[in-house]
Amino acid sequence: MEFYHELQKYPWDEVEAWIESRTASHVETAVGTQPMQLENFLSLLSPAAEPFLEEMAQCSHRLTEQRFGKVINLFAPLYLSNVCTNRCAYCGFNADNPVARLTLTPEQVETEAKFIHEMGFRHLLLVSGDSPHIVTMEYLHAVLEKLRPLFASISIEIFPLDGGAYCKLIEHGVDGLTVFQETYHEDRYRDFHLSGKKRDFRWRLGTPERGGDAGFRRLGMGALLGLCNWRVEGFFLGLHARYLLRTFWKSHVSISFPRLRPAAGAYVPPSPVSDANMVQLLTALRLFLPDAGMVLSTRESPVFRDHLVPLGVTSMSAGSRTEPGGYAHDSDAEPQFEVADERPPRVVAEMIRSKGYDTVWKDWDPAFLHYSKAG
């Protein structure tokens, strides 16, 4: 069954009302329960759980350490293009924004990649705006040709493709797929995504499934925090992740926490999410899904990132540039979002180690995939 049908079993308003109705005693029962049922998960997302954040954090810490060890994986994004045909109300790449647009040539990508490799990264995330006429399959293949020798793992976070295209990308050495649903509220989704292919809610929602069918080893997901009520969003995120974990049982599933933050001149998120809310969401998801990876980007401030390390995070980016050409080129291109943590990877790694965690730069090997020459 497609996840879309699963989603429809839970009307947004009913979920919201259910969450609001939870009490402290529901939360007390929920915190220590393993494995956790949906009902308990809803309690942990509720306002009633706010006084229990410390207990949730302790549980999350213990569970994460047991499942993942005292380690944090590090990765870097590489932006290929900020050309975009979509009009997403919150995004710097919005087609209506009169900003400098740039698509890197495969040679420029290689220069960026070498810079990233030099910083120590072996896991790479390729990002692009929605521009299938520019970022074509041929272009991606040419880019991957340059990147494969440099990285142990390559994931993509580009516009959704069909299953056949994903199979081809896997053949060319991509092992991971990340796609954020932005919001699970189908009606509001259309308010935020004014035009372009991205307007198709169901096509986007089905993307991780097409990727899982194609055989990606890592599936990344997330909701853009700030668009709708994060508690309900968190519930659907958990539901979706559980569906993916159960359906694609051979793949890793990880959840990201992209948060829109109110900033001068920037998009004002209609439903802001506080630091405490973020902690509640992250720890609730960890207690519900002990095996899911939790990813934290440089959208968040150094102080907040430092404190989240022991709370359930398994993977972090560092030193990120969110404009194409941002690492090694003198780029004027528009970034997708403002980076809040600008510390170089070396400094972030030092911080992680000071918290009692080892930094893992390589946790995959291209030899697993069939294109390997070793085979």
């Binding site: 047991q66 993942f68 060890g69 005292k70 049982w249 390589k362 030899a367 697993f368 069939h370 390997s372």
Partner: protein, 256 residues
């Protein structure tokens, strides 16, 4: 007393094997390795850069002191595991491999069918194969038949620290084995390791319980002692638990 562990003709004095994942730092890992007395340490190939002499894990494992046992953790099927093992050998590792075929990345439970297939291929290619396997006595014999140098059945799900949940099956495996039986996965405390040795395992492999302990070095030493105590008790001969009491001075002893 000469009580050595012999695997594929190679003699080891320690019966504790150690995994190198999940540690808070390479330094902690190194200290724990030393305290454990282990002579065989496993390293996930996916975690290391074999060609990089500065690799944070490989660079601190002294090949004079430890046998580096590369594992194929992350392999989904026989083909992937075989490719990884070949890669390690091509990069200069000894032809020993801890075979792990774990299609489910969360509980890392071994796939019996693919493990057997990969073992057969690797043995033919001259590898010394130590397969991680479910505690299945028939599979243990099948692996032995294709020529593995040991079998490594799990005590309980990996990382779970639940101890010997598979004890009854392990006893059957041990009873029937012509190759060393190394209990791998799930040992959460030195008492679990001691129990495995008491029932006759030839060795145990421990990782998570040491790596995520408050003091990994001290825990490594505690496991070393647990293994030694369990082994000593096994050699001394442990009486089986019985339903009826048995008097140490029987009343009818004079009749014998």
């Amino acid at each position: 007393m000469n009580d050595s562990l012999i695997i594929a003709g190679r003699v080891f004095h320690s019966r504790l094997l150690m995994g190198t994942g999940k540690f808070a730092s390479p330094q902690q890992m190194k200290e724990a390795m030393e305290a454990s007395g282990a002579e065989i340490v496993t390293v996930a190939l996916r975690r290391v850069e074999l060609e990089n002499p500065q690799d944070s894990i490989l660079s601190i494992i002294d090949p004079g002191k430890y046998l580096l046992l590369p594992n194929t953790s992350g392999a989904r099927d026989a083909g992937e595991a075989v490719r990884l093992a070949r890669l390690a050998r091509a990069a200069g590792c000894e032809p020993w491999v801890k075979l792990e075929v774990t299609p489910d990345p969360h509980h890392l439970l071994p796939d019996p069918v693919e493990t057997l297939k990969a073992a057969e291929t690797l043995v033919k290619e001259g590898f010394v194969v130590l397969p991680y396997m479910p505690a299945d006595p028939v599979l243990a014999k099948r692996l032995e038949e294709v020529g593995t140098a040991a079998v490594m059945p799990l005590g309980s799900p990996i990382g779970s620290k639940q101890g010997l949940r598979t004890r009854d099956l392990l006893e059957i495996i041990i009873e029937g084995a012509n190759v060393p039986v190394v209990v791998d996965a799930g040992l959460g405390a030195p008492s679990h390791a001691a129990e495995a040795m008491e029932v006759g395992a030839d060795a145990v492999l421990v990782n998570t319980a040491i790596a995520v302990a408050g003091d990994p070095q001290a825990m490594a030493e505690a496991f070393k002692k647990g293994v030694a105590a369990g082994r000593q008790a096994f050699l001394a001969g442990i009486g089986r638990p019985q339903r009826m009491a048995e008097a140490s001075s029987p009343l009818t002893g004079f009749l014998r």
